[in-house]
Amino acid sequence: MGAATLFVVSIIIFSAMELLPGDFGETILGQAATEETVAAFRRELGLDQPAVVRYGQWVVAVLQGDLGTSFSGRNASGTDRSREVVDLVIPRLRNTLFLASMAALVAVPLSLFLGISTALYRNSFYDRSVNTATLTTISFPEFFVAYILILFLSSLNSVFPSLANVDANTHFGERIYRAALPALTLTLVIVAHMMRMTRAAIINLLASPYIQMARLSGASPTEVILKHALPNAWAPIATVIAFNLAYLVVGVVVVEVVFVYPGIGQLMVDAVASRDIPVVQGCALIFAITYILLNLTADIIGIVTNPRLLHPK
């Protein structure tokens, strides 16, 4: 199922590339280039072959772990300084995953805690304040949240650095310190969604007859939520968490740009601007894989927590 989805996605990615206006040759060589030069350049990159053939070559290569070679820095523009897409993408992906894990480690437990506690004290002052606060942070665009954080935590009180420029030599503690603000921004953006969904999934179950039954057998509100509602609410909660984790990987471009964080989102944006098709395709494919894997995990959690599927008759 996941593999089939991936196959369809690969076709869509490839076709989208074909639809992109402009072409790498013209972009690089400029308006003044003669038709012969452009044609020669295209031939070198293999762009003169039909799309179906190129798609086939690409898929076969990808299956062997080869995402191709970046268009930039080719022979035609002087000496061959071109780099493998894999070499470009992997360090960036590592950075993005580092940032995503950092945000997730804070955001997921926090939103579960907030979701459960607001369900427990629903319609109380606490519930309303948490709801309002999280709704506020999700309502602002990410870059706005990011700049506000920079203003208060970096400019006015220098707690964290405003630039999160890390490289391969930055050691672990330093990385955490530098990535703190982008991670905080992402946390603020995704907590609302996960927390509200957790709260809603639990409250939705509170109308079930077995919840009334639990209350009538003397269970306290905390016990009702933790022992009776939560175990049956994991499937929707896992889905929304997976959705947000995927967002942490694929949707962080804006935050990366604001904090000059060398992640994969920024790489992709640069590649689109220069029509560097192999890089764009590589990034898009990695995003698709991330989405599919996370959703698969959520489905598996949904199955594992469902006693009907786990303990068949």
């Binding site: 079930s208 639990a214 209350r215 057998s217 269970a219 927590t305 303990h311």
Partner: protein, 542 residues
């Protein structure tokens, strides 16, 4: 270990002048207006009434519990000297699952699907500190045994979806009995069960209540059931008491008109018609859902102008037979012959005329209508589709049809949500009639309705049959409904026809085993019925 401080005969619970309101449509409505109730230790009180009478609300209030959106506005609920109406939730929790317990209507929905049965059975007993975990588990296994559950030592390790509905209902009774409460509230505990299962569950509930001398409130709309369980019966209507009397007295001589009308529904009986030529026959029908076979060589003859009742428990294949006739489920083999011609198995291959002549009315009138369409649109659609009647002619015809089902033209612009349960079912009948069919399949059309409303619908169906010469196939699990309307009876069990023929023949001995079991399981208004039946079955078993 037992926490019964009360002796038999002492007043255990006394409710005085209780008023409860519920919040809906932006305002508070009275649900219970001023009810008094006294329950002695070890006594079983039956609460009966139609839906909306407030019986469940009263039963829960006896435990000091109100559902979300409800509030107690007046009155006191004194349980063993303590006024529950004045206690906070955390104080009441000390009583719940300890000195008072609850058995809900739908056991399947009332167990937490994620926890093992024995954990749920003993949770409140352990929490209240009545027994240690080990003792509570041992005791639960004994209770399972007393309640006649299969494999009592291990059934508790299962999850709720792994046992049958009747078993779950008994596990819930064990759960309610586990802390040895003083008061047990049964809220329609057997309504969702088949009759043959109901007998066993009722018998085990009654014996366990007697064994531990527990006081109980038994809520139901079924008079015959309450007659088996209760020492005293209280009749409720619109949140007020109609009358209260000891069970035998109440059954023999109800005082109030309303109570008498509840009793009279069961007396409805149709004069039986002799069999005529068949209008529809099923010959050797096999059908299955995927690989699961649900009908096995089913042969049914339905005589023209008569009512044929298909009787059987859930899973017997009676609704599947209807799906085969209407073409919704093409049969694997066999023939459906209607008025001399063989119908194509698939709905898509049937002509419009063939579809028009067979119509269906469903159990849940609620879900059988589009909630966004008005009554005019609902009835007008088959008029347009089958007969091409539009515009002013359609309006006239809808008015006629409404008149036929005893509703006036003012209902034309209403939405389903603005109708009562009985009115909704009438609209569904009108929609079926609009196609001017010869044959109507009624699938449990009265089982979601109150008894008095049921009587109205059944009378309407019979009148329409007389006037229009309709043939009915009436699917039901309720034997008293069969008595009321059927000419012919088909008994089904596990996908096969057990017996069929004229009602008088089928209902008279000798019976095949299954028919005998089914008929003897239908509760009767005699308070000794259950005792006698259990005695007879025990004798037969030895």
């Amino acid at each position: 270990m037992m926490n019964n401080k009360t002796k038999r005969g002492d007043v255990l619970l006394s409710i005085k002048g209780l008023k409860i309101q519920g919040f809906s449509d932006e305002k508070w409505h009275d649900i219970i207006n001023g009810i008094d109730l006294t329950l002695h230790a070890g006594e079983v009180l039956g609460l009966i009434g139609e839906s909306g009478a407030g019986k469940s609300t009263l039963g829960l209030a006896a435990m000091g519990y109100t559902q979300p959106g409800c509030r107690i506005t007046e009155g006191e609920i004194i349980f063993d000297g303590v006024d529950l109406a004045k206690l906070s939730d955390s104080e009441k929790r000390k009583f719940w699952g300890n000195r008072m317990t609850y058995v809900a209507q739908s056991a399947a929905a009332s167990f937490n699907p994620a926890r093992r049965l024995i954990v749920q059975t003993t949770a409140s007993t352990i929490r209240a500190g009545i027994k240690s975990r080990q003792d509570a588990y041992d005791d639960a296994k004994q209770l399972y045994d007393v309640l006649n559950l299969p494999d009592p030592d291990n059934i508790g390790d299962r999850y709720p979806h792994q046992v049958s509905g009747g078993q779950l209902q008994r596990v819930m009774t064990a759960m309610a009995m586990s802390p040895r409460p003083d008061l047990l509230v049964f809220d329609e505990p057997t309504t969702a069960l088949d009759v043959t299962t109901q007998v066993e569950v009722l018998a085990s509930m009654r014996s366990i209540v007697q064994e531990f001398n527990t006081a109980a409130i038994y809520i139901t709309h079924d008079l015959a059931v309450v007659a088996q369980m209760a020492d005293v019966i209280k009749v409720l209507r619109y949140g007020s008491e109609v009358e209260e009397a000891p069970t035998r007295e109440m059954l023999i001589a109800p005082k109030q008109e309303y109570t008498k009308s509840l009793w009279s529904v069961r007396a409805l009986e149709k004069p039986q018609q002799e069999a005529q030529a068949s209008v529809l026959s099923l010959k050797g029908i096999d059908a299955s859902y995927g690989s699961a076979k649900v009908l096995n060589n089913v042969n049914i003859e339905i005589p023209k102008g008569s009512t044929v009742a298909i009787v059987g428990e859930s899973g017997s294949g009676k609704s599947t037979a209807a799906r085969v006739i209407t073409g919704l489920l093409p049969q694997k083999s066999g023939i459906v012959r209607f008025d001399g011609e063989d119908l194509p198995p698939e709905l898509a291959r049937r002509s419009k005329e063939q579809k028009r002549r067979i119509q269906m009315i469903y159990q849940m009138a609620d879900t059988a209508m589009n909630p966004r369409q008005t009554v005019r649109e609902i009835i007008g659609r088959p008029l347009d589709f089958y007969l091409g009647i539009r515009g002013a002619a359609q309006t006239r015809r809808v008015t006629d049809l409404l008149e036929m089902i005893e509703l006036d033209a003012s209902f034309m612009e209403r939405l389903p949500a603005e109708l009562s349960g009985g009115q909704k079912q009438r609209i569904c009948i009108a929609r079926a009639l609009a196609a001017e069919p010869d044959f109507i399949i009624c699938d449990e059309v009265t089982s979601a309705l109150d008894q008095i409303v049921q009587e109205g619908i059944l009378k309407l169906l019979m009148r329409l049959q007389e006037e229009l010469g309709l043939t009915y196939m009436f699917i039901t699990h309720d034997i008293s409904t069969v008595n009321a309307i059927a000419d012919q009876v088909v008994v089904m069990n596990q996908g096969e026809v057990v017996e069929q023929g004229l009602k008088t023949d089928v209902f008279q001995p000798p019976h095949p085993d299954y028919t005998a079991l089914l008929l003897s399981s239908v509760p009767e208004m005699d308070p000794d019925w259950l005792t006698n039946l259990i005695g007879k079955r025990a004798d037969a078993g030895h």
